[in-house]
Symmetry: C2
Subunit: 294 residues, 2 copies
Amino acid sequence: MTYHEAGSVEVQRAQARAWFESLRSRICAALEILEQEAPPELFPGTPASFAFKPWNRKSGEGGGTGGFLKGGRLFEKAAVHTSSANGKLTPELAKTLPGGDKQLDYLSTSISLIIHPRSPRVPTVHMNTRFLATSVGWFGGGADLTPMLPEQRSQQATDAAVFHRAMQRACDAHDPSYYPKFKAWADEYFFLPHRNEARGVGGIFYDHLNSGDFAKDFAFTRDVGLALLEAYPGIVRRRMREAWTGQERKQQLACRSLYAEFNLLYDRGTMFGLRTGGNVETILSSMPPMVSWD
Amino acid sequence: MTYHEAGSVEVQRAQARAWFESLRSRICAALEILEQEAPPELFPGTPASFAFKPWNRKSGEGGGTGGFLKGGRLFEKAAVHTSSANGKLTPELAKTLPGGDKQLDYLSTSISLIIHPRSPRVPTVHMNTRFLATSVGWFGGGADLTPMLPEQRSQQATDAAVFHRAMQRACDAHDPSYYPKFKAWADEYFFLPHRNEARGVGGIFYDHLNSGDFAKDFAFTRDVGLALLEAYPGIVRRRMREAWTGQERKQQLACRSLYAEFNLLYDRGTMFGLRTGGNVETILSSMPPMVSWD
């Protein structure tokens, strides 16, 4: 299905790109405020801010901006990236994508973020939304929360409930069938078969979303980003006043190993990026700052 | 090519298995002696020893013994495992193996080890050797050294030279063509394309080795194990008297990220194990104890 009514695919991509870049600015600003707000008795040092680093693709056209916050007092590491590309799919990869049988050329634009707080009591979060077009266009993405302590890792735990409610509101505003479907998809996607364990409490995941109406699908994707911006800073604000123990820090570093394994073994974005000449620095910036495998 | 002269494949596997298990005992003993010898002013605490944990395969027959040393004073983490299996290959995996077109049943036995020292001045080492048989049998394996500090990571650095000489002696005793071939194969194998960087200084790598003479190939594989046993403790003994800085520890944790990425993205043993019902605990025990991605 194509998105005829909204103009050319280049115009659609430009609209999505403008949104992703504005969302990036808003999210980074919100995180920097949290860096400043964090109680100094738990988070000593100077608040960090984002450094933005543009890059260009080595193959094809396009590039992006990597937003990196490193060694913050509240956020041990945060990455908020946008990128846009015009490229050619390998025939192998094309087979796995809608419309890839008709053409290898693709257009894309996306935002992706991963936030690794220093405190084991503050959950890690990830979000990625994207617009891709081969001979057809579609949106995809997801957001999931990864609390690090065992007692926070149930669906009923407070942070999980807050996060799920925000995602459900974003979904329900557009289609009542979305939330059950996209929540189940996240449960399936953010799962490590070799561990028989989920990486966190999930969230939503969707892909190849094309209702035939570009404006509708784009509005939904915008609301997913806004849901993240609505839910996550609140979760951080509540948790950042809680002291933690050395034992909890150990649990966090061990739990982050699931995150590292997921990204390298299963994550589509990582694999797509590494195979299509993406920027290795931004792709690997999703990896946790410090991890233990005991 | 089959190994007719040495009897049935089960007998060959039993011989290889007995060797791998005896080598395991000798290596673990050598490492435990180093744990005790390490200077206490640099390595405080109690010397650790190996815990041996037998496991059985969930699918097929067989199992192994995981040898784990955790939280040692000299060795932050060490894993020396043996395993033996009778199983059925998936048709997909069978296509990639000699003799896999004739039968899906396979026999295997192997030893694998990874040693992660605490000091950034002591290199990490890995070795794996194995006997596998489908409708034909063969040996494979490799050993490679991963020094963590930039100045140690050249081919000319002392530890690299010692390690390479030991591997060359093992090769040259059996066939003058082995060392150049197997060293080049290691350089190719232990390389991370997305980083455009080798994980360490290499060593040797070989696979599908079947000269037609089981005794000859088995003797070579024994000598690879003995070369490791000859070279590595000497390297550790020299380096364990050197104090290190916090900056060097940081370099080590960052360099270990290449190790983690290699194992999850490229390592054949890891992938073979995860796909054929191997033991997840032993497979993941190769991961570094603490890693940073800054």
